[in-house]
Subunit: 340 residues, 6 copies
Amino acid sequence: MMRLSPPGKLRFSQARSFDVIYGGGESNVAVSLANYGIEADFVTRLPDNDLGDACRNYLRQYGVGTRHIARGGDRLGIYFLEHGAVQRGSKVIYDRAGSSLAAIQPGMIDWGVIFADADWFHWTGITPAISEGAAAACLEAVKAARERGLTISTDLNYRKKLWNWGLSAGEVMDELVPFCDVAIGNEEDAAKVFGIHAPGTDVTSGVLDAEKYRSVCQALSERFPRLKTIAITLRGSLSASHNTWSAVLWHHSAIDEPGEMYFGPTYDITHIVDRVGGGDSFVAGLIYGLLSYGDDLGKALAFAVAASALKHTIFGDFNLATAAEVEKLMGGDVSGRVSR
Amino acid sequence: MMRLSPPGKLRFSQARSFDVIYGGGESNVAVSLANYGIEADFVTRLPDNDLGDACRNYLRQYGVGTRHIARGGDRLGIYFLEHGAVQRGSKVIYDRAGSSLAAIQPGMIDWGVIFADADWFHWTGITPAISEGAAAACLEAVKAARERGLTISTDLNYRKKLWNWGLSAGEVMDELVPFCDVAIGNEEDAAKVFGIHAPGTDVTSGVLDAEKYRSVCQALSERFPRLKTIAITLRGSLSASHNTWSAVLWHHSAIDEPGEMYFGPTYDITHIVDRVGGGDSFVAGLIYGLLSYGDDLGKALAFAVAASALKHTIFGDFNLATAAEVEKLMGGDVSGRVSR
Amino acid sequence: MMRLSPPGKLRFSQARSFDVIYGGGESNVAVSLANYGIEADFVTRLPDNDLGDACRNYLRQYGVGTRHIARGGDRLGIYFLEHGAVQRGSKVIYDRAGSSLAAIQPGMIDWGVIFADADWFHWTGITPAISEGAAAACLEAVKAARERGLTISTDLNYRKKLWNWGLSAGEVMDELVPFCDVAIGNEEDAAKVFGIHAPGTDVTSGVLDAEKYRSVCQALSERFPRLKTIAITLRGSLSASHNTWSAVLWHHSAIDEPGEMYFGPTYDITHIVDRVGGGDSFVAGLIYGLLSYGDDLGKALAFAVAASALKHTIFGDFNLATAAEVEKLMGGDVSGRVSR
Amino acid sequence: MMRLSPPGKLRFSQARSFDVIYGGGESNVAVSLANYGIEADFVTRLPDNDLGDACRNYLRQYGVGTRHIARGGDRLGIYFLEHGAVQRGSKVIYDRAGSSLAAIQPGMIDWGVIFADADWFHWTGITPAISEGAAAACLEAVKAARERGLTISTDLNYRKKLWNWGLSAGEVMDELVPFCDVAIGNEEDAAKVFGIHAPGTDVTSGVLDAEKYRSVCQALSERFPRLKTIAITLRGSLSASHNTWSAVLWHHSAIDEPGEMYFGPTYDITHIVDRVGGGDSFVAGLIYGLLSYGDDLGKALAFAVAASALKHTIFGDFNLATAAEVEKLMGGDVSGRVSR
Amino acid sequence: MMRLSPPGKLRFSQARSFDVIYGGGESNVAVSLANYGIEADFVTRLPDNDLGDACRNYLRQYGVGTRHIARGGDRLGIYFLEHGAVQRGSKVIYDRAGSSLAAIQPGMIDWGVIFADADWFHWTGITPAISEGAAAACLEAVKAARERGLTISTDLNYRKKLWNWGLSAGEVMDELVPFCDVAIGNEEDAAKVFGIHAPGTDVTSGVLDAEKYRSVCQALSERFPRLKTIAITLRGSLSASHNTWSAVLWHHSAIDEPGEMYFGPTYDITHIVDRVGGGDSFVAGLIYGLLSYGDDLGKALAFAVAASALKHTIFGDFNLATAAEVEKLMGGDVSGRVSR
Amino acid sequence: MMRLSPPGKLRFSQARSFDVIYGGGESNVAVSLANYGIEADFVTRLPDNDLGDACRNYLRQYGVGTRHIARGGDRLGIYFLEHGAVQRGSKVIYDRAGSSLAAIQPGMIDWGVIFADADWFHWTGITPAISEGAAAACLEAVKAARERGLTISTDLNYRKKLWNWGLSAGEVMDELVPFCDVAIGNEEDAAKVFGIHAPGTDVTSGVLDAEKYRSVCQALSERFPRLKTIAITLRGSLSASHNTWSAVLWHHSAIDEPGEMYFGPTYDITHIVDRVGGGDSFVAGLIYGLLSYGDDLGKALAFAVAASALKHTIFGDFNLATAAEVEKLMGGDVSGRVSR
């Protein structure tokens, strides 16, 4: 997907150029994992034209595998992003209708080949939101992944403006999430997709209470018994320029055992550079943490939170922080001193 | 329509920003006319979002009337332009499917109001190429204009990649052109739309023979008896950086009189800045010339050719040369000396 | 007026390019009103050259009427702006001497035509500061507006560096303000123009006490009995990057009635993008509020304060926030969350 | 003087930034000489503000002496430059009225101090064009230089748009040129300033005949007997992008000896980068050549022509070619091969 | 290797930013081949820091394999490039001393692994020029490639400023070239490396005679009997902005058979965008042609010449033209018409 | 030294251009002093190529003397700077090995000439860190300065990544500092160079206690009895975007008198623009203060702290704040109001 944004803090009507990058949910996760040294392929569908090539090249530079990307369809999906500041929020205008991915149909991707040597499959709730075909391809994928025993993770990632092809987010996700082992959402996703609310939370107030999300995790776990690990990112939106950022992790090792709650640190992100992709960088950090730190779930969560805090300081959708940089921040050094 | 182009001579995959302007066939003509002091409105359909506003504002700065622009639909049409150089031609990727204009339907525009105080209606062959609805709206417009006695001009403007909604260019244009008084085309349009070929012409050879287009004009006139004035622009494509530019004009005052042929000067455009909109700038120059120079058709043609030669030295789709600047060039000053 | 500013936070001597926009007191108000859907014309005098055209076009894109702009004189007024940061304040260098507007004389503008269908006339204290002719033209305008029964508003807008053509700000404004119904000033204007001080206020301390300005409003009202509505903007200058922003409104419905004081909300603008035009955006917000909310003066004030808070997040002199965006902020959402 | 120009080939109304450099006739000569290793001071008057500092700093970087620059007055002179292309000529808008230099008066500069260790004084016809005071200061300077026995050179440099303070160029230059030893002009200057025409020359035809300028030189020499060396630059304006460039030099060693004519080579400048300052770079090359090559006037001329040909390939007013680069071109290498 | 160049035509001292890309001889060839769909790995040594990563990522985006790049050493080699225009030639300043590649030693690269599945090995004369270690590693590589039966090609690529570590280019290349099957050079390389001159050729005259290079090829073939295919690129340097470009190919199928000479077309590159990498793009085109067109050596040459002509229209070191674009130009379409 | 940095907050691998400036320890001090009106020469060694010229020109624009700069050697030292944000610290990659300065040897600079009319010599601990030759040249310089009775100041300026030519920082500085009268360091330098620790200080905690540095100063004074004035800058690193900044000054008038401690104000730098050169700007401010304010050491310290606070708001290595701007801030105006 192409992202077009006016430079700096300009509004759409002021811009005589747009910064162009390529990104989007799952690709953001793949790039971040590749960046941590984990072999990762990104699977999507791109038009067979110069813009599709440009998008593939952009991904490829960060070492993510692109050989399974299907080519075809009419156009590359676009989203326009206007960066906000202080009381003026950022704006996203989706222009994804009719994209190559929106026109995908089951059977276009050979999941058997892709999953042959794979251990983990991650998808986000943005994909089934795009079109009926994309939802069907998503279902096809999770079933294929389940058959082959891959760990499956999903980011609920509710996008109100996208869900307009017929079914509701809840109806579709109710079919897809049962195949998943790990689920991630932000402070609003469970409510907006499944109607599972944290008690007494107002996400525009700028203050979030981590403890309140325990019940959300338990409700999700009950609804989707396969889910053993659930993480919820907690963004405190003080303004478009200043957020706090944290997350909680809930885990139980078996369906009849009580879940344990882990609380991540909270970072005060006082000068946001680019908050898009924050959630995806959390997911990648969590996958990396779960793969690297064994049973130390608190450490995995801490890595994920630190990773995604750093993402907010990096332009574009991708988190270009290295594992070493994340670990330095995890170790408590928030001083931002010059490394020389 | 939004135009996105890599800066300078960069290829799509090299660009980290795109220059953004707004333009397109009919709007280019309208801006140029407004620039010459002729009151001109541009009628189209734009989405009711910030990008539609940005497009409208962009047009508005050049003094073209925008109050009749319909708002609605899903997206703003886009075209991507890669500027070529020497042996590497420029590339255009259209991304107009599903645009607000493509989704237009007859009845959405109140032509009666628009034409109330109007004298002239200009449209191009790009519009009916976009969709069946756009073709129908175009037909609705030419009929309304004809009823009210406006002069109607059309630029045949064949775009192969756009004509894919069902009918062929020829089938559709055969219905629309009969309403027109003035037609303009480039050296290929008559052949590609109506199969009317100039004898022995190879447009990639870089050499064009103005005289050969006399028969094309006559054939068009016979096919569409209402057409009294026909102009053909003649581009000699020496390379992407260097073109020659000229045009011929054919006119007869009545159907049973023989047509007279006028030959414009030829300009050697050795360092092209931006050739997009060259044809539109010719049309605007011709309309201005026809309105301003009375029966002096040779002068009208000379103005149109000089105007469009200048367009090639101006970035963007719009011709921002003033009438005074065009007249200076018409007067023979090609020296490009500093005005100070 | 042309505004030239080094990009980002560069100092003048570092810049190899200047960002160029066009703006200035009254035009900023007009653009903002046009943006809210209120028909607004901007009246000034511009040189009859390409720079005058560029300025007119720049205004025109935002929908403000420009047909009454007089053309003539020698040069376009310029101001140079260096954006400050933290403890380094922004710098303005005026270069307006000899501008087309400075050379204006009474009689050059036909106020009768302009005011024919108008309801409201707004001017600022910057205009009479520029030259004796501009002051005279200003007086001519307020008299003409008064005769035709327009509501007249003024922004006192004291600019020390401009008042050097002979008379003092106080002497001139004492002649002009008596014609006005509405006056707006910042926390210093009343003191610097009329010597009316709020008790115990130090504007460089970064803390302002809204209540103290009640006496300023009353003193203004006594001096200029026609003034029924007086607003004072309150900027807390914590640094060049961080301000607080609020305002108070004083109103009485008749000369012998006591005035009522309204207190606006205070916004904490922690990451200023561009504070120039902040006062003008307040004025436009107030005019819109007074026209739209009837007797609900508190709401009008709240709209004006929210509008001008948003202005600080937008590059350039113009407030490009829409009424809907202002109302969203008025409604209490300061979270700056992404709209998608 | 500040120069503001839209980037690339943009027109004024398209620009959202202006490239900013500082330059102008005499400073261009001084920088070029300093660049060749000749100690050179630039004398002017700049406002005592940040823009005056920026201008001084800009000059200083190229090693020209700035300690004699007077500071004071109201504003820095500006000129706006729109770069042309092919048939569209470049445009200059002067904005120098009221500048610090225009407000100069005799006595403000201490020529005695400045000329104490100097050998050569160069001035151009632009300076007396600016204002009566500047013309008077110029007269003061040439008299002071004459008294101290400096060689004095002048570039006639006629600028029609500047001569509007009262006297004509001819009247003023007739007083100033008698003090000079060396005069340089372009193919039009002698005609426009003194009415001395070359036979049958049309400068817009793009073709120039060097031989025809012999009579111009002789006529100048008769009018101003002190002039022993006269050079005329010959620009063939094929288009704004493509010029030819040459010059002739006339010299006689004593008043009663016949002058000898030298003809410089002609360079074909097919892709002009920036032609402003071309004449100044010729002057600097000529002064350097006269100082360095002794009696070999043909070589001095050849250096000057080559130097100024290179100037056309360099952005800005200054010629940043080194003496070694000029000599390489003089040696006949026009191939522009990569030096590596 | 990092390439830093002032934007546009700016000189080094004018630049406040440098455009940064990564490239250099062998990588340019590898990218071009990958772009044509040929699997290609680039082998070099990069420092293990963020700049080494940036260089690797830059290569990776174009699909070239980077997994065999050794990491280590102190710094990334840099070259500074100033783009020339017309009579001002481009300038290259090498800053490669002490680079990771210059510090390479035999044994650092495992050629056995790299060549395991490879068919072709290409190297250039730039590598052994850098340092004694690089020359030794190069010798190690050609021997390993020879042992495994790969086709070996070399570009003589003489760079005078680099050969300063002790031995001369001739001494070193005399050891390396005997292992090669294919050699490519420009019109000067054979002379400067081996003292083999074409009769009567002056490369700065701008005119080249293809026929004269027959004797150069034969002399090379006699000196290095293994060479069966020799190509010489022919650049006509009319100016820094305008070159002609062609090449000849000499081939014999066995040592005792006479060689056959093929003459490529000549392209007139009137508006050079970036000529760096022209030779490398020819090499890649030739390798592709030899691999794709079987015995049709004339077609292989034509592809190579067309490919490298297109390179001159593309910014950076890499040729980003596709095989289809090259073939379109081979087919004779030099018109540079818009593809839409 | 050349500094190359990705624009804005981009990471190295994202940049397609680098901002280029020139600077470095001692030059930063020299520019700042020149800016305050103090005649200052910068002495270094630059390569005799276009980049060396560019560096010299860059310095020269700010009025610093460059005539004593030695030319020669192979390359210009470079450092790459990635600007951090919030929790992501800035990164510096030094690329100075083999630079002209690193290859300096005693005898290359004629200190006798340079110090002939000088009063003060300042050097930093960065220079002897670069190479053995640079350390030797530094020793040569301090001895020559001592002989001629100049005041000598040093900035300890420990750079861990640079000290790798053999001896440790402590060993070398122990030879150099005894010649100095004034020493400046940051909160870590004394510990890292001489092992002199402030009690209980953790520089990454973001909180610093000025009082604790008294013992550091005393220990330094005992070790280097000539040092009468010692200043320590205190940076509170809350994040890469937000620091506090202060300093202490210790002074005794004679070796047997107790030292007096002065405490500077603390500035809250909430939106850092560029923190590089902060220490150097402090040094320049201190030298200026010591020279200008006589015995008022507290005022000298206050000037130095205010000057260096302003530096953090200015892009590049140089502090371009004027003395008047520093004094305004010293006077307590931190409001950053617009100066107009």
